[in-house]
């Protein structure tokens, strides 16, 4: 068994080297296909992570009428503290709001100082538990509070979370579509490369049949060849993906500004990397197996 395995591996290595030009071509195509899939996977990862961060840091601000008596303000506090998803409630006074504005926008500090009164209304800042963020329950609560007398406005970043989740789904779909087409292309290319290799080794295959080689014995080196091509292609794609992750921020970092954090690519996780490699190997194997069974009548 070990002898046969050694023979198969040796035969596969020989075949890969013997037809290296066309094999290199097919590895390149597989690599580009899986690189496309990988880039979209990375983008999806990133958008998902951004959406998650936004959801985790979700705050809702309820702006109040400045003329409200303290007991009404307290009643509102109690009302908004009641739901289970509320983690904390903080009252931001008009003075605190003005101070925050001054700190956040120092270039506009003169304008704020020049105002006669304080235009900033008091507000309740509410922190929502991450598990409940952007849930229907929270949305319904916010909608209800918007209509409550004494609450003049509500600031809620749910839209952003939903947009990020939408982008993430879109990127995933584009990746799956483009990647699918390219993987299908790789599949046909491997199939044709192996077919050419089968034809080129027709004499050898015939000899193997005459000396008593089984169907499996003849097919295994071709299968291994397809798997090796797929694996090499996807491995190369993974390596290029790591290069892209390293180089992309350096190349675009300065011009990205505030978007830098949003587009900071993350390395694919181990299961994702293994999935890419497995996908490459499977594409190679299916491509060669169909070609061999179609064109190798043994």
């Amino acid at each position: 068994m070990i002898e046969k395995l050694k023979f198969f591996l040796g035969a596969t290595a020989n075949n890969l080297w013997q037809f290296r030009t066309r094999n290199l071509f097919s590895v390149t195509i597989i690599c580009l296909s899986f690189l496309t899939v990988g880039i979209f996977l990375m983008l999806t990862n990133n958008l998902r992570a951004t959406a998650r961060t936004l959801a985790t840091n979700m705050n809702i601000a309820f702006y109040l009428d400045p003329k409200l008596p303290p007991e009404t303000v307290e009643a509102i506090r109690q009302e908004i503290s009641r739901p289970a998803f509320v983690e904390s409630v903080t009252l931001v006074s008009p003075d605190e709001a003005r101070e925050r504005f001054r700190m956040s926008f120092p270039e506009l500090a003169d304008i704020a100082a020049g105002l006669k009164g304080n235009p900033f209304p008091p507000a309740f800042e509410l922190r929502v538990a991450a598990r409940a963020s952007a849930s229907k329950e929270v949305v319904a609560f916010v909608e209800g509070m918007k209509k409550r007398p004494g609450v003049t406005d509500v600031l809620f970043n749910q839209d952003w979370v939903e947009k990020m989740q939408g982008f993430s789904r879109l990127a995933g779909a584009i990746g799956a579509f483009l990647g699918g087409i390219l993987i299908l292309t790789s599949f046909f290319i491997i199939s044709n490369v192996v077919k050419l290799n089968v034809f080129a080794r027709k004499n050898e295959i015939e000899i193997l049949r005459f000396v008593g080689g089984t169907n499996l014995f003849i097919r295994i080196p071709f299968w291994l060849e397809g798997i090796a091509l797929g694996l090499l292609g996807s491995l190369l794609a993974l390596a290029l993906l790591f290069v892209v992750i390293q180089v992309f921020p350096l190349y675009l970092g300065a011009s990205l500004g505030a978007l830098q954090e949003l587009l900071r690519f993350r390395y694919p996780s181990l299961p994702q990397a293994l999935l890419l490699l497995g996908g490459g190997a499977a594409t190679g194997w299916i491509g060669s197996a169909t070609s061999v069974s179609k064109f190798l009548k043994v």
Binding site: M1, E3, K4, K6, F7, Q18, N203, E204, E206, I207, L208, R209, F210, V211, G212, G213, T214, N215, F217
Partner: protein, 222 residues
């Protein structure tokens, strides 16, 4: 033992490549099948190693009806045979050693044993010094000896050779058939398809004459 019972083969109507061929070849026989071009020598040999199926008839090899063997099990028949072709059918991108080792690799023989047996066989055909050469660098006669070494390395019960001396000069042809004779002495049944009268006259123990697919004569000198 090889038994052919009423074998008919038609490639194209209305011509019969083999017409009612009935033949029995015993273990250890040395057989020449001869006849002019197109007489059916190659077809007859091909039916024995089941490269082609006869249109009608029955072929038994060691009591097994080879026409009933499933395609996926043909290797069981082929492993009992060594086949030599007129055009050698060597793998020119592999060394002499690799070419001769193939029948042993197919059955999973260990590397050391393969080396020992390939070297021994190449010694028998006097090619052991060219074990690591590529076949393209060898002469025609040497290439044919590589093909013979490949056919006998597995100690087959039956050796089939289709015009093994077709491309060789008389001296080399004589040398090649002498080799077959030696393997025959060691117990292998040898069947050679040839139209070289000189060789047949010199080596022919049993001769089968074919013409237009029919057996037109048999001679036994043993």
């Amino acid at each position: 033992m090889i038994e052919l019972h009423h074998i008919w083969k038609q490639y194209q109507k209305p011509y019969w490549a083999l017409s009612d061929v009935t033949l029995q070849i015993n273990d250890g026989d040395f057989y020449f099948i001869t006849g002019p071009s197109g007489s059916g020598k190659t077809t007859l040999l091909k039916t024995i190693f089941r490269e082609i199926l006869p249109t009608e008839g029955q072929i038994l090899v060691n009591g097994v009806n080879i026409l009933k063997i499933r395609d996926s099990r043909i290797y069981t028949l082929r492993r009992t045979m060594g086949i030599v072709f007129q055009d050698f059918r060597l793998m020119f991108h592999k060394t002499v050693f690799d070419n001769v080792a193939v029948p042993l690799q197919v059955v999973g023989v260990g590397r050391k044993e393969i080396r020992r047996r390939v070297f021994g066989t190449l010694q028998k055909v006097n090619l052991h010094q060219k074990m690591w050469e590529m076949p393209g660098r060898l002469s025609y006669g040497e290439q044919q000896r590589v093909a013979i070494a490949r056919a006998v390395v597995n100690n087959p019960e039956i050796i089939l050779a289709d015009e093994p001396t077709g491309n060789l000069d008389p001296e080399l042809a004589f040398e090649i058939v002498t080799l077959f004779k030696e393997f025959n002495k060691q117990g292998a049944t040898v069947i050679i398809g040839s139209h070289d009268r000189e060789l047949i006259r010199h080596f022919g123990d049993n001769i089968l004459f074919l013409q237009k697919g029919k057996i037109v004569g048999k001679e036994a000198h043993a």
